[in-house]
Symmetry: C2
Subunit: 279 residues, 2 copies
Amino acid sequence: VNAPLGTWIDGIPGDQLPADDRGLQYGDGLFETLLVRGGRPRFLDAHLARLTLGCERLSISFAVTPAFRAEIATICTMATSGADPCILKIVITRGSAVRRGYAADGGETARRILSLWPTAPLAEGLRAGVGLLPVPERCADNAALGGIKHLSRLENVLALGKAQRADTFDALMTGADGNLVSGAMSNVFLVRAGRVLTPPVDRAGVAGVLRGVVLRECAALGIDAAVQALSLADLQAADEVFITNARIGVVPVRRVGEHQFRMDVITRRLASHIEALDA
Amino acid sequence: VNAPLGTWIDGIPGDQLPADDRGLQYGDGLFETLLVRGGRPRFLDAHLARLTLGCERLSISFAVTPAFRAEIATICTMATSGADPCILKIVITRGSAVRRGYAADGGETARRILSLWPTAPLAEGLRAGVGLLPVPERCADNAALGGIKHLSRLENVLALGKAQRADTFDALMTGADGNLVSGAMSNVFLVRAGRVLTPPVDRAGVAGVLRGVVLRECAALGIDAAVQALSLADLQAADEVFITNARIGVVPVRRVGEHQFRMDVITRRLASHIEALDA
């Protein structure tokens, strides 16, 4: 069992919450998964910005205050002695239901659940590259949910389960229009003639923090990068493919279905550049 | 605050559960909402059959045993004195996470959360008919999730919120192909030239227990009924429209967007017939 090093609910150590929490009842909430190195969460501002956007989209009354930042800093500092790197998971739910039923009342008090998890440094096998399994299901097309990291993740649970049963690292998910969205637990990029491209995630999928870092750092490195609609055929015709998430950083993709990829020049350049960032 | 009359977790009175529950972390679980009349849950076998189907689809190891049925009976009997009708909500989650991350381990122990809620008898205003607001979002197209009542319900939360802010009883949701799926908290039917029609829910939406009862009782009443693909235009061209769920039974729809419906002959016949069933 991969147990947390600690859990804090609304700032208090403890791991029990009321069953009437709307996060449990309806998947009504948000989360962030941060990599903590040397007691410091990487790309914290970007994670908190996405969390804030999510709260706005869902009308959850939760603000990132200096006190909340101090709570994160304290937890990361005190719990990482001897566990480096580790993962900080932040869950913000709409809170306990004011009344039964899907519709939010508006009078709920948001609940925050922070937990710290052990994790291993990135395995060599992972660094060498992974496979993706395209799955036929189409993600919901919903501008209110696209990009944010909400708690209604059963699509991802099932897609990733399928991929892992096929001995593949992640699934490759498509949107209502049949175009690519993302992996089940990662964002996906391709490299074509020196350009880095990634699909939009404004109607489905999650706008990963590492995805944002890649787009920003491409500019810093003088690599042309863009967000544009991409099909599975575009991906399979690419020179390089890679995925990103907060835990793994930038990882090359070696296989999508039956299609293989050998090149990784730009992928490795981005991976080592981003891993070395002091953030 | 609309608080539960009681909550039981894995058979023990209490309303606290561990924060590592995958129902909370990923919306990884199922639920049922049953109307309890005179201490007896209506259509219990149909609810438990859908729950069992959901567990199979999600590979959640939970079986409906005689002991579980006895637990339901005991809770309904002991808690309904003075609160009739009421609502029994059953939540089955995959249980506490064995490891962090979307993918289930397979070694989890399912958790059951039963809660009993007060409810009012159906208001006259509701009996007289309600409005539906068509929303533009497209539900996910996913054969594994279609029809089951899973916990990843943020689409429904947002759609219903939109409808209620527009002073409408429920939203009207469509699938990836643009055809009708259901209400956010109900199933939808139309009546056209004496035939009762409802959209398929095998790729999105929930196969409501009352939906099943309507299809079955139409046969018993000699009313032709069928499941078929339906568009918003089909609905607006219908003679009658109605919605169903476990709490409200069969309720006429008077308005879909700007379109009004006056007829309700078959709707009322079904509503009173089903309300009177000894189940």
